[in-house]
C-alpha cells in the first residue's frame, strides 16, 4: 500500500504472523437501508485464499461487535478476488433515520481493514 507500509508481528507464532487486512486488501462500503455492505478486495490474487479462510462472517461479526445489531452474511467473488459482506442493523436505522456521522456506512470499509489475521510467515507482504 505505497506510503503506508507497516508490519504487525505481535501475534507471530510457529510459522504464522498477524497482519492487518490493510496490508492485504482494499475495500469499499455503502448502505442499503439499515444494512452496510463492505466489499473487501485482495491487493494480490495470492492473498485471496487467505481472505476466504480467515475473514469469515463470524470473525467480521465479532470485529464489529458493539457496532452492529444484526448478523453478517458473506458472499464470495473469486473473479474479483473479493468478498462482499452484508452487516445488518449497522447504521442506526439507516438512511434518514440515522443519527450517526457515518449514516451511509461509507467508512465501514476502513474499519474492516483494521482487522488482523494470521498469515504464513513466508508470505510476501508489500
Amino acid at each position: 500500500m505505497g506510503a503506508k507500509r507497516r508490519r504487525f508481528r505481535g501475534g507471530a507464532t510457529g510459522g504464522t504472523r498477524r497482519v492487518r487486512l490493510l496490508e492485504l486488501a482494499h475495500a469499499r462500503s455503502g448502505d442499503k437501508g439499515d444494512t452496510a455492505n463492505v466489499g473487501l478486495i485482495a491487493l494480490r490474487p495470492e492473498y485471496y485464499p487467505l481472505l476466504v479462510r480467515e475473514v469469515t462472517a463470524a470473525r467480521v461479526a465479532a470485529h464489529f461487535g458493539g457496532v452492529i445489531r444484526g448478523d453478517v452474511v458473506r458472499f464470495e467473488l473469486p473473479n474479483l478476488n473479493a468478498l462482499n459482506f452484508l452487516l445488518h442493523g449497522a447504521l442506526g436505522g439507516g438512511g434518514t433515520l440515522s443519527l450517526k456521522t457515518d449514516a451511509q456506512g461509507k467508512v465501514f470499509s476502513t474499519a474492516l481493514l483494521r482487522m488482523e489475521i494470521d498469515v504464513p510467515e513466508a508470505l510476501d507482504v508489500e
Binding site: 458472499f75 473473479n79 462482499n84
Partner: protein, 467 residues
Amino acid sequence: MTGVARKNGPRIVRIASGQGFWGDWLEAPIRQVEGGPIDYLMMDYLAEVTMSIMQKQRTRDPAMGYARDFVPLMERLLPAVAERGVRVVSNAGGVNPQACAAGVLEVAASLGLADAVRVGVVSGDDILDRLDALIAAGHHLTNMDTGEPLETVRDRIQSANVYLGAWPVVEALARGANVVVTGRVTDTGLTLGPMIHEFGWAADDWDRIAAGTVAGHINECGAQSTGGNCLVDWETIPDLADPGYPIVEAHPDGTFVVTKHPGTGGRVSVASVSEQLLYEMGDPANYITPDCVVDFTSIRLEQAGPDRVAVAGVRGRPATDFLKVSISYHYGYKAVGTLVYAWPDAYRKAQRADQILRERLRRLDLVFEEILTEYVGVNATHGPMAGEPDPDIAEVQLRIGVRSRDVGPVRRFTRELAPLILNGPPSSTGFAAGRPKVEEIVAYWPALIPKSEITPSVEILTAGGGK
C-alpha cells in the same frame, strides 16, 4: 456525428458519466463533452431521499419537483448536443419530468437551438395518486425490509415512485430524442438504454442486457470508478483537482472498456473499477434490476492499457415479474449538535458535557426515540474499533443527535447545547454556526409491485409544442 465510427466500421459507442448524484461536481459534464469524442452523456440525480424532497417542492410550487440545476447545466451543454450530436440521458426529471423538459426547451429557444433539440420525457413511475386503488386491488406494498403492510403509514406517505428500467429510454431515443429527461428510471438504465438503442439488443438477450447493466453500475457514481474515493495508493492518484469521469466504450457483443478522457486526473485501474463494482452490493450473484438479473461473479476485468479496463464475461438471467417501488413517508424529527473541547483533558470534558446534557434533557422530561453521542476525533467513524484516544489529544468534538416522533422535544434539545459553553465543563468552542437545525425525517419504504400494473409513458417535446 462525432469522431466515433458508428454505422460503418467498428461499432463503438461512448457513453460518458457526467453526474453521480444530485450535487456532484458541476464541471464534470462540461469536461466530458469538451474533453474528447463521446456519443452519450448520462447524468444520475436520484437517490431514495431525493424523490421526497422533490415531491415537497412540487407541492409548494407545481412548476418544481425536479433537479433545478439541470436546466442551467443544459444551457452549457446544448451547443454540444446541437452541433456534435451528443445525446443526453438523465433522471433529473424527478417527480416532475414535464416541467424539467419545459425548462430545457426554454433554454434551447433562448440559445437559438429550438429546432435542434427534441426532448424525450419518460414518466409513468409516479404512483402516488394510485396507491389506494392499488391497495384495494390487493397489492399490499409490504415493506421489503420489515414485512409491514403499507396501511401502517398510509396517511403519512409523501411520494411513491416505481423504478423503471432502460426500455422507456430506448423508446425515447428511437423516437429521435436527443435529450432524455426521466422520472425514477434506475441509475443503470441511463447507460443501458443507449446501448440497447445503438446495438438493437433483444429484451431477452440476457447476457448483453446484463453487461450493459454492469456498465451502468460503473457509470452511475461518477468518479468513484476512476480514482475518486479509491483507497489503493490513494496518494499517488494524479490530479484529483481535475478528475476524469468514467466513459464506457461499448461494443455490440456486450464487452466494453472503462476509460476517461486523456489529460484528465484520476486513475482507471482494476482496483478502482472493482471497488465501484462492489459499492452498495447485496448478493452479487443476484443483482436485480427491472431489465435483468446480473451475476456479478461472472465479470472479468483486465487492465487493457493506461487508464483502460476491459470488462467481459458478464452473465445475466431473466428479469423478475416485479418492479421495485420507492415510497417515502413522514417519520418524525431529528437534530444534531456539536461542541468542540480543547486540550487539556479534551475527551474527558466532552464526555462530562454529554452526561450533563443528558441529565438536563431528563429533568425536562423530554422523550426521545434515540439519543446518540459520538466523539469526533475518537470514535465517530470506527466506534470501539478505534481504541482509546491519546490522553493528550488536542481537541475532541462532542456530537449529539436526537430523534423523536414529535417536534417539541427536538426543538427544545436544540436550545440546550449553547448554554454548556458558559455553564458546563471548560474550554469549549466551535459553536459559531449557532443552534442545530430541526430536520424533518422522511423515511424510505421499499416495496414490490407486479410489472403488469405499470405502463411507462414516453412523450417527445419540441420547442414548437408537444408531439
